[in-house]
């Protein structure tokens, strides 16, 4: 069967977003834009999953590559973007303007996921990052600081990335990942080594890895909630996807060992995120630090630099997207009711039991309590570290899991304290649907992790094969 048609359909669907974004400036119909974007996202997810199920593998127009890994992450991004779209529809003050920028961002994310070239990765990251800044800006002056911080940091990251690509260029001017992996990066050239470090820095900034994460707490706290959910749940994962494409498909294939870089980054990131989160009062800020620490866990699998490690990382990327967007859906909704700090969460159980239960499950999952998706993810990550003879990394990882118990625990305890009957607060139907779907996914995949584990293994295998 010819998969090329499906591939072109995906590219066309992706291109619809920027086109629609421009059109949205003229047609101001909120509902229409929402339903159109939701439909297209659902279509992309469906086509992508179908291709994944068929194990399709092909390269189109030289720069697009469809193989199990990209198909899996495209499906993930599309479905998570759908969730963010719903949140934005409910909470965005100006949905039309938001969706204009959102359209460009979506195209960027999907571009990175499907790319087969360092240039498309570059363009994709840029396309994703810049509109995000404006999305934050359009929500009013109070968010300016966050926007500026994000702008400066992403400009820096992009510059570093450009330099890293430039260093690679002499080895293969086509800059195609599959080409680079098979051709020329042989030998211990210090230029390649430098380029590798710069790639690590660039992606680390986007993915909020310590010490390149200074922008995260301010931006996460300052940005409107649905954008925070997107930043934590999707943007960060896009950077990881780029990281995996470059490091696993390119450098690892050419025999470069990047284990020490990522082991170090993983340890620093986990400890920084968890220790700082301990003292936070604002829940959104706490979750920002918690998401930094979760980034560190994903890096554990990358540090293992084996196929198993990659499987674990991919699994945890999916898991963390689900958990964090679920958690932020609740947190954003509460922020809208002027409930922001840990103490203000007290008695949430009596105000809205479902929200409290959902947040509890998401947090337990992030701690790594079975039988939830986060547990399976951490189990795989630490297993991969042990199997790659990085027992110390696994040990530090679990120490961090214990540290995180304290701050997640504080939020959970606060929700169940104060049982005086209070006025109930309601959640909008669409948001509640998002929360419940993600909640069910968190529990169901935790109990039956087989399919997702298999999918992650397949995706990891397709990356490691090189071409």
């Amino acid at each position: 069967m010819d998969y090329a048609i499906a591939g072109y359909v995906m590219i066309a669907l992706m291109a619809l977003f920027p086109a629609g974004a421009i059109a949205s400036l003229f047609v101001k119909r909120k509902k229409a834009w929402f339903s159109a974007s939701a439909l297209i996202l659902a279509a992309i997810a469906a086509v992508s999953l179908t291709l994944f199920a068929l194990h399709a593998s092909l390269t189109l127009l030289q720069v697009f590559r469809f193989y199990p890994f990209s198909e899996l992450v495209v499906a993930l991004f599309a479905s998570m973007l759908l969730a963010v779209d719903v949140l934005a529809y409910e909470y965005s003050s100006d949905f039309i303007t938001f969706s204009a920028f959102f359209g460009f961002s979506i195209a960027g994310m999907l571009l990175v996921a499907m790319s087969n070239s360092l240039i498309t990765i570059f363009i994709g990251l840029e396309l994703m990052g810049v509109p995000t800044i404006f999305m934050i800006l359009t929500h009013g002056r109070t968010h300016t600081e966050a926007a500026i911080k994000l702008f400066v940091l992403s400009a820096l990251a992009i510059a570093v990335l450009a330099f890293a690509i430039a260093l690679i260029m002499p080895y293969d001017p086509s800059l195609s990942i599959t080409g680079l992996s098979t051709s020329s990066l042989v030998g211990g050239s210090s230029v390649i080594l430098l380029s590798m470090v710069l790639f690590a820095v660039a992606f680390s900034t986007e993915a909020a890895v310590f010490p390149f994460n200074m922008w995260v707490p301010d931006v996460y706290e300052g940005a409107p909630g649905h954008i925070t959910a997107m930043l934590a749940g999707i943007n960060k994962k896009v950077a990881f996807v780029a990281m995996i494409e470059v490091f696993f498909a390119m450098f690892l294939y050419s025999g470069y060992n990047f284990q020490p870089i990522f082991a170090l980054l993983a340890i620093a990131t986990m400890f920084f995120g968890n220790l700082v989160a301990l003292v936070q009062q604002n829940v959104k800020r706490m979750m920002a630090y918690s998401s930094i620490s979760q980034t560190g866990y994903i890096l554990v699998g990358i540090a293992a630099s084996t196929e198993f490690g990659l499987t674990a990382s991919i699994f945890y990327i999916v898991a963390h997207s689900i958990m964090i967007i679920g958690a932020f859906s609740v947190i954003v909704w509460l922020a809208g009711k002027n409930l922001r700090t840990v103490n203000e969460y007290s008695g949430l159980w009596s105000k809205n039991p479902i929200a409290a239960f959902a947040l509890t499950i998401f947090m337990l999952s992030m701690i790594g309590v079975p039988p939830l998706i986060g547990f399976i993810g951490k189990f795989l990550l630490f297993s991969s570290a042990v199997s790659a003879n990085l027992l110390y990394l696994a040990f530090l990882g679990i120490i961090n899991s214990v540290i995180s118990v304290y701050y997640y625990g504080r939020v959970m305890l606060s929700m169940y304290s104060d049982r005086r009957p209070t006025r109930r607060i309601r959640m909008a139907g669409a948001v509640a649907a998002v929360v419940i779907i993600l909640l069910v996914a968190t529990i169901a995949i935790g109990i039956f992790p087989g399919p997702l584990m298999h999918a992650s293994a397949l995706a990891a295998n397709s990356v490691m094969l090189g071409s």
Binding site: L364, V369, F375, V386, L391, L413, M453, A457
Partner: protein
């Protein structure tokens, strides 16, 4: 019958749904029924095993990493299961004097029932870990949502200690998995091939796992969460925490010693630690006037004795320890039930103000006295059989020094009988008011006392399955 163990593990989920959907007042009945059904299924499974009490089942679960859903019933898990069900049944019927949060309590009891069933039946370490954590989180919510006003800090302390234990357990399991020649989580496989695992990784695994288990059991010096948690929990909470949850770790030690050959070298150290823990608890107990705190220390003492039994590594001592787990579960549950009832009636936990309890709440006071008999190993109670077997085993393993810890039980007895004489049974402060135990409480007392006597007088009903 293939699938009976799976049924036993999963059917309570239906009761859980029922408990969550039905009204608050039906909660205790649903939880009790769920445990009664479990006892029935367990009895059926025992009868259908043809006198061996060993059944194993395996279902495919995850294929990417070979993890099967394997369950196995053996005499040790049988004893612990029957104890857990009896205690949970008694707790759900009689434990909630205050009638607070009945629905939540019932749901948590059923969840704990699932956790205990899965853990004691688990045939591979992955499942063991999953059910361990379900048990820990359930107990945490139990502790957090019901109990004294000081329960919340205690709950947080409990959670942090137990999560530390659980991640060490996870790390140990993962290390063990990659240490086995053909990577596997299956306990039977690991036991058969443990000699092939390198000494260093055995030592690492042993260190990780034993630390996790000792935290859960509350062995000195890892016990600091325990007195607070047991004391501040509600009556039901104290019962299930002390009787069921603490056995997770003890059962783990049982598996661990059977699994890794390096245990033989470590056994004398764990035995010493058990003895230290027992004496430590015995000495500290004298300081406390709080009846629940005193019982908590008696629990640390008993767990120390159990650890000694498990460390003997001979069949008598080991099964003595398993029997002691059963005895300890039933006894401590009865003690906490009676103590909780006294606290409820008198409004205080202070031993000095409980003076004359017998004149005011007769059946409760005598139940407490009976529990003290069993805790100190009086003949005809389960405690006697347990202590007898453990110290025979300890003598065989460690010689004369093995029976020195018996002194700690003497100290326990001395203190227990002292406070019973001075406070609970003293008649110098006769009370005018007489509180009768309600029917549900009487049922709880009768069930626990009956079980203690049954397994004390007829130990061969359970021990007959073990070839000693």
């Amino acid at each position: 019958m293939q699938g009976i163990l799976l049924l036993m593990t999963l059917f309570p989920l239906a009761f859980l749904a029922a408990a969550m959907l039905s009204g608050s007042r039906r909660g205790p009945a649903i939880a009790a029924l769920s445990n009664a059904v479990s006892i029935a299924i367990l009895a059926y499974a025992a009868l259908s095993s043809g006198g061996t009490l060993s059944i194993s089942e395996s279902f495919s679960y995850i294929t990417t990493i070979p993890i099967s859903f394997s369950l196995r019933l053996n005499p040790a898990s049988f004893m612990l299961l029957i104890m857990s069900y009896i205690v949970l049944l008694a707790a759900s019927v009689a434990g909630n004097h205050e009638k607070e949060s009945q629905k939540l309590a019932a749901s948590l009891i059923i969840l704990l029932q699932v956790a205990a069933t899965g853990l004691f039946l688990s045939g591979n370490l992955f499942l063991y870990f999953i059910f361990w954590d379900i048990g820990v989180i359930t107990s945490f919510f139990f502790l957090y949502s019901m109990g004294s006003p000081l329960r919340r800090p205690a709950a947080m302390k409990f959670l942090i200690y137990e999560m530390f234990a659980s991640v060490l357990l996870l790390l140990g399991i993962i290390t063990l998995y990659f240490g086995t020649p053909v990577h596997s989580f299956n306990i039977a496989y690991i036991t058969a091939n443990a000699a092939l695992i390198g000494t260093t990784s055995q030592l690492l695994v042993f260190a990780f796992l034993i630390t996790a288990f000792l935290i859960n059991m509350g062995i000195f010096p890892l016990h600091f969460w325990l007195p607070d948690a047991y004391t501040e929990a509600s009556t039901q909470g104290s019962m299930v925490l002390s009787a069921v949850l603490s056995k997770f770790g003890a059962f783990g030690v049982f598996i661990l010693f059977a699994m890794l050959p390096i245990g033989a070298e470590a056994a004398k150290y764990t035995a010493a630690l058990g003895a230290i823990s027992a004496f430590y608890a015995a000495f500290l107990m004298f300081n406390h006037k709080d009846i629940k705190r005193m019982i908590s220390y008696s629990s640390i003492l008993e767990m120390g004795i159990i650890l000694i039994g498990l460390s003997t590594l001979n069949v008598i001592g080991t099964y003595g320890a398993v029997y002691a787990m059963l005895a300890h579960g039933l006894t401590i549950a009865l003690m906490f039930l009676a103590a909780g009832s006294l606290t409820h009636v008198f409004g205080t936990r202070d031993i000095r103000t409980l003076a004359g309890a017998v004149s005011r709440a007769k059946s409760t006071a005598y139940s407490f006295v009976f529990a003290a008999f069993s805790a100190t190993g009086l003949p005809l109670t389960t405690g006697f059989i347990a202590d007898l077997l453990i110290f025979i085993g300890a003598y065989a393993a460690f010689g004369f020094s093995g029976i020195v810890p018996l002194l700690s039980i003497v100290m326990l007895g001395a203190y227990m009988y002292f406070i019973i004489e001075k406070s609970i049974l003293s008649t110098r402060k006769e009370s005018e008011v007489i509180t009768h135990a309600s029917a549900s409480q009487a049922f709880g007392y009768a069930l626990l006392i009956g079980s203690i006597l049954l397994f004390g007088i007829l130990p061969f009903t359970l021990l007959g399955f073990v070839k000693i």
